[in-house]
Subunit: 204 residues, 2 copies
DNA sequence: GGTGTAGCCTAGGGATATTAGGAAGAAGCA
DNA sequence: TGCTTCTTCCTAATATCCCTAGGCTACACC
């Protein structure tokens, strides 16, 4: 009987494809095995269990998304870079809804696996370097990174969940939100004196 | 044999409690039945199936979150209202992680059920009325609502997923992000003709 | 008290996750 | 080529789920 030639990566890829097609929560060991023309039990050689598989899909998605963003922002700066960054992010979520969902869910990922994965770390680094054009100092820079990532993730997530049922096309709001974020980064406010009057720079 | 006195709401509540305790994906019909001291099959009188139960949990969470936000923002305006709104949002996500997760996942909710649920609609309305203090006109108002909701959802979602492993406490970033959002709403940029490095964002 | 409805049960089919152990291909070495 | 060993994949088996069908009984209403 011919071997299927499976590896952990091929199993993960099959699971990711399945996630995009039918939704992450319908990614089962059985379904992945069927897609690979293999019995369920055979998968456990390459993947610890279903949760491990989900974690691997999440890491794969993080890697792919990071690569797409890196390519899109290469050689760009300022608002150009911001728009390219954000558009690549949103496009990845559209192109791979199942994979993207995997990145949202709090998953216990094998620490050893996580250490070898570059995606999550490089994604944050990319955000930092993209924001360097805006001349923010710490800790504002970290806060801005978190704000940007939160907004992009929140927008794509709400959009995917059908949260923008309003008449106005999500695309139009997206463009204007990027305008707004760009303006915000250019004029990042000092510590708000309304709630706290004392000096602004107080890093840890 | 005494009856358990189940209703759809009681089943939903048990599922929601379970979701907060062990995670939404471990909310099974069996587990909910066990918690209620009842056999699995008995639940199907009150709930169509597992997906229906998840949808009901999501609607319950939306309702609860909306109520919390409404209470928190009552009688406040401007930045006070924004902070109260955002803090109530984030606190609900912290207090009820499982319920909150249910609101994120794209769920096919029974349309009839959805029509009777007030949470999702009132939540958006609350955002609109909170933003009225900032004097934005359509379509900027809708875009601002979407930006705010995206950022709040994204921040709490990333925070819950452990996305802020950096040294700086998430709480500190949260406060500064609200400062930033307030500043952004006060100086919402006009439509950006073309990105020019030296243009001053003309406030509306 | 009689009757009907609904809530809860038992029984069971089908699917899934996971483990244990066996057979067969592939790879190294004589 | 023949032997050894490792890995891959399989069969078999268990436990847990989801969900349906049909029966029994508590409770409301007459």
């Amino acid at each position: 009987m011919a071997r299927a030639g499976l590896t952990a990566d091929r199993v993960t890829l099959a699971g990711a494809e399945l996630a995009d097609e039918v939704g992450l929560d319908r990614v089962t060991m059985s379904a992945v095995a069927r897609r690979l023309g293999v019995k369920d039990a055979s998968l456990y050689v390459h993947v610890r269990n279903l949760e491990d598989l989900r974690g691997r899909i999440a890491l794969l998605a993080a890697d792919e998304k990071t690569i797409r963003i890196a390519e899109a922002t290469a050689g760009r700066a300022g608002k150009d870079a911001l728009v390219a960054y954000a558009t690549a992010w949103r496009k990845y979520a559209h192109d791979h809804p199942g994979r993207y969902t995997a990145t949202q869910i709090p998953i216990e990922i094998d620490p050893e696996l996580l250490a070898r994965a570059l995606g999550p770390w490089r994604a944050v680094e990319l955000t930092y370097s993209m924001l360097r054009a805006y001349a923010l100092d710490e800790p504002d820079l970290t806060d801005a990174v978190r704000l940007i990532r939160s907004t992009l993730h929140g927008f794509t997530s709400l959009e995917a969940a059908g949260g923008f049922a309003h008449a106005r096309p999500a695309e139009d709001s997206w463009v204007r939100c990027l305008d707004a974020l760009h303006a915000l980064l250019k004029h990042w406010p000092a510590h708000d004196p309304v709630h706290d009057e004392h000096d602004e720079g107080a890093p840890a």
